[in-house]
Amino acid sequence: MIELKNISKSFNGKQILHGIDVVYEKGKTNLIIGASGSGKSVLTKCTVGLIEPDEGQVLYNGKNFTAMKLDDRKEVRKKIGMLFQGGALFDSLSVEENIKFPLRMHASMTEKEMQDRVNFCLGRVNMSGINDRFPAEISGGMQKRVGIARAISLGPSYLFCDEPNSGLDPGTSILIDNLIKELTEEFQITTVVVTHDMNSVMEIGDHVIFIHKGHKHWEGTKDTILKTTNKELSDLVFASDLMKKVRKLS
């Protein structure tokens, strides 16, 4: 479980996050939605400590992460898997070495065990057989999927995915959503997913928070979101004709 208490952050005098409180439960997929530039990525980076919040605290299983020293933070971070918005694969390493990297750092595995783990993770994201390619040689969507494979290679307790299905075709997108949900439930992971994809919201939104101009503007589930009366949330969710039809049907 992760708890955010009153998280605020400004850059160059401009306030991006305004006192955000939220609880991410274990074994659930927690979704962050919001318009582009609303502060979703900044909130996620504050949660994992890549950006220091100006105010507020982040608690991992009740322990105050924000106040921890670097060494203690490292211990928490070993249990975090993260997919970055741009993939953030290491350019100079092959796909296989990218996925092996966290294993080399923290696991005491033999080469054979690591190899098996790499193949297993690549299989889970439907990317078997691209072990020897380099990030520059695969498409953006493939990079995303390798990024997910890397994020889950150590078997994380906390999984953060910043737009896991942007740049993916609908079929692959659903595959990734299902993978995230399966892993979350199977291994009781605390999962946080930033997304723009309403399809994902409907598929895996156990818990959804809506960020609007740096405020937590709404909180609910995939079931309550269709009935929302919140103006800004409706504008975001029902922007497309398809979603308008879905609302009518429900």
Binding site: A88, R104, H106
Partner: protein
Amino acid sequence: MKILQNIGEYFILMGRTFSQPTKASLIRKQISFELNSLGLGSMGIITIISAFMGAVITLQTASNIDSALIPDYTVGFTARQSMILEFSTTIIALILAGKVGSNIASEIGMMRVTEQIDALEIMGVNSASYLIVPKILAAVIINPFLAIWSMFIGISGGYLVAEFSGVVTTDAFIEGVQLDFKMFSIYYALIKTAVFAFIITSIPAYYGYNVKGGALEVGVASTKGVVTSSIVILIANYVITQLLLI
């Protein structure tokens, strides 16, 4: 003020770089990679430049000596001293600052803007140490060898000029090269080279590591890294020379 801030940030980064070492097995692989790319990768340019500089110094010295009072061996002597004391150390360092420095700043800067450095941090890796230590160590180890190579090639270039242009006899040239040779000048050159190696890797690394923004800022960081390390090399050259030779 900006300068003071940069200096402060630079030393903080160096503190972080050398405080928490990364797993040895990971670093070792990186070092051998960097030894290859920094060392072998620079051999070509150093060979060409050193050969021509040795040749030109020989020609220049020979053609500027008119007086019969100045012995012929002065040409070889001058070529040797120029190569060992300044050319193979300072000038080569300035050239490598351009080549290696821009490379390091843009590589690390690109990793910063594409969130690869964040990814390292999330994995519990001290990104500063993992990225910067192998580059600094590799350069400090390999550059003294490059300097020796440059001295050898430069003096050989001078010898070939003596052989083929006839501005001075090869016997006189060799006599000059051997004249009054002090081993200390080699030590002085190698110490300088090691210090310069630290400068041309760590300063561009600092600029790359602190990039904010995108590809444009990476370019700016690369330029700043090269310019700053070149200036620092010249200052360090003065200071070291004052300390060691005077």
